[in-house]
Amino acid sequence: MLLTVLKAMAALASLGVIAASMLALASWKFHVEVDPRVEAVASALPGANCGACGNPSCFAVAEAIVEGTMPVTACVAGGKSVAEAVASLMGSDSCDVVAVISLRHCGGGTSAARSYEYGGVQSCNAVAKLAGGALVCSSGCFGYGDCVRACPFDAMSLDERGLPVVDIAKCTGCGICVRECPRGQIGLLELVAENAPVAVRCNAHNKAKERKASCSACCIACKKCEKECPEDAIHVIDMLAVVDYDKCTGCGTCVSVCPQNCIDVYAGASNSVAVDGAGKTALAESVALGAAAED
């Protein structure tokens, strides 16, 4: 009995000595200095590897931030909270991040005229390459949802009219949708401050007559909004109503006067407003963008 115990203890202990000394040797010989800050920053980043910042992965961003080649606000997608977290890890406290979301300037969808029968890959970028796109309107939304697919945060979806709507809670303002949209360069999608109260659902600058023929939901540059706006925050510039968000208070006057219903309450705004006018009250409660009533 005792002999067995002793033998067993000796045998296992000797194996233990060998094993432990190997590891001791290894931990001394193969020691690697990893900057703990890189790990820390990496874990503070969203980890979606979305590439919005122009880096291949969040880990690479972490390395760049620690090296100092990128600012603490480098993560576009993470927004303010991530920037603050990273900043506190890096020991800097100044970070100026404006929360932004993506906005669509088109209310066409099923109201927009098609210029041809399209067949092929259901992608805006694909259709844009064919005879200028399948819409008569040269600045509207094709509605194949390249932005939706590109969104790394699953914040966009197509509504029943084939127009992208943004889930404000999920949108980080990374801007990938704008880059992905073949008409993003000409203002179809735009990043605006998260508390932007209203949105103009048109992106056309051609003659009002032409565009009325191509889409029944467009801005007709009638200037009613411009005239009625109590804050002087909306102007028809280059044949299109444009909101000045610095002045806009979200009173909703423009929304109610627009004969085309192409101005929308942007309900994600914290100061969501009740809107007067027939049938438009519900707008204030609608969660998604682009819920403008259709004729």
């Binding site: 210029s115 041809y116 029968e117 399209y118 067949g119 092929g120 890959v121 259901q122 992608s123 970028n125 694909a126 390459k129 064919l130 005879a131 200028g132 796109g133 399948a134 040269s138 390249d146 697919r149 590109a150």
Partner: protein, 432 residues
């Protein structure tokens, strides 16, 4: 001499019989011309005229100071109605000059191209690759220093179905083609000139052989699409591959279309700028044929001249059915690269698909691919918008010949997906 060919490819029904035997005829000057300022690969030209200006046939009305570009000439005597934008056959919106031609036209007279050496003349005449690629010819004639281009290959394959404009040109103006070939060979110091014609055009081969002098080979090629693709043609004759990311000059060859050669001969010998081209109008039109058309003529006018539509129309294609863009609007102008107008009935075209057809992995696309790509793989990744994975399979090497989509039994829009992958890869810095 054994028939040369490349590896891969397909042989779609040719449909050339409707126009192959018809001589080229002039299309009368139309009532209006829309001359786009971008008829070549590269930066678009800036219009040099304004509304109300009188223009002479052959007068330069648009130019730009970029290396890869070609000036635009007025095809007629007339008055500039306006300067605006128009849609090109390729679907781009570009600046254009609208001209109302004079009632009286002398198409035989024109402003001559200013004197200069061959390259300057070719450039001044606004000559670009007339096969459809519209690469400025003067640039091609100036290979980089240290590159020895030993062979000039003239491409008379016309491997696209339906089209016969090059065929007719070779038959009717073989001497111009040969003259152009000689000029080019002399300019770049090439020792060898080969003209490749698909074996389905024996009359063209005979005409060229008759016109060819010493030192010019006219060789017949296996009739197989895309025989006329630059890299494939070089392989067929020289058995060398143009290395990835390099110009054909790197393989010691210069490839020009036969129509380009004829235009170069006209420019050098007659100082004639490029203001018209031969266009095959075929398919569902009343009078199919090959028409010599002033650049800037609207497709609608051309179709009307060809007798209008003869039956239900599904799709109108500018160029051959394998590579030409489909037109959404017939009021687009004929440009330097427009080799044909093919009118298809709704039953003659590939069915419209959604893009999510399954791949049954039959391998026809990769078997036919003249670039030995694996189109199904690129397309599968592209369909999921996984550009990184798609980029691993060399989409930038795609020559967009369309063999993959043509041969796909489930009708997947392979080429369209590959184009997307190619664009994505190039946006990331991949080079052609």
């Amino acid at each position: 001499m054994s028939k040369a060919a490349f590896r891969g490819g397909v042989h779609p029904p040719e449909h050339k019989e409707a126009t192959a035997a018809l001589p080229i005829e002039w299309m009368p000057v139309p009532a209006r011309l829309v001359v786009p300022m971008s008829q070549h690969l590269g930066a678009p030209c800036a219009p040099l005229v304004a509304a109300g200006d009188r223009v002479r046939r052959g007068q330069v009305i648009g130019s730009v100071d970029a290396m890869v570009s070609a000036p635009i000439h007025s095809p007629v005597d007339g008055e500039v109605t306006s300067v605006g934008t128009c849609l090109t056959a390729g679907g781009m919106r570009v600046p254009c000059v609208n001209i109302t031609p004079d009632a009286e036209q002398d198409l035989a007279s024109f402003e001559p191209v200013p004197d200069g050496d061959v390259r300057a003349t070719v450039r001044g005449a606004g000559i670009v690759g007339l096969g459809g690629a519209t690469f400025p010819s003067a640039v091609k004639l100036s290979p980089p220093k240290g590159v020895d281009v030993g062979t000039v290959i003239l491409n008379g394959c016309e491997c696209e179905p339906y089209l016969t404009c090059d065929h007719r040109l070779m038959v009717e103006s073989a001497d111009r083609v040969i003259a152009g070939a000689k000029i080019m060979a002399e300019t770049i110091g090439a020792k060898r000139v080969v003209i490749g014609v698909e074996e389905n055009k024996p009359d063209a081969i005979a005409a060229l052989r008759a016109a060819a002098g010493e030192g010019i080979e006219v060789r017949s090629l296996v009739t197989r699409y895309p025989q006329g693709a630059e890299k494939q043609l070089i392989w067929a004759f020289l058995k060398t591959e143009v290395p990835h990311g390099k110009l054909p000059a790197a393989a010691g060859a210069l490839v020009h279309n036969v129509a380009t050669a004829a235009a170069i001969a006209d420019a050098v010998e007659l100082r004639k700028p490029l203001t018209e081209r031969v266009v095959t109008v075929t398919g569902r039109v009343a009078r199919p044929g090959n028409y010599r058309v002033l650049l800037g003529t609207l497709v609608s006018d051309l179709i009307e001249h060809a007798g209008g539509f003869s039956g239900d129309v599904g799709r109108v294609v500018a160029g051959g059915p394998m590579t030409g863009p489909a037109l959404a609007d017939l009021d687009v102008p004929i440009a330097k690269g427009t080799s044909g107008i093919v009118v298809f009935g709704p039953d003659e075209i590939a069915p419209l698909v959604e893009g999510d057809q399954p791949c049954i992995r039959c391998g026809r696309c990769s078997e036919g691919c003249p670039m030995f790509l694996q189109p199904y793989l690129i397309a599968t990744h592209a369909n999921r918008r996984d550009w990184t994975s798609a980029g691993l399979f060399h989409p930038v090497d795609c020559i967009e010949c369309g063999v993959c989509s043509y041969s796909c039994p489930t009708r997947r829009p392979l080429l369209q997906l590959i184009r997307l992958a190619k664009a994505a890869a190039m946006a990331k810095g991949a080079k052609l």
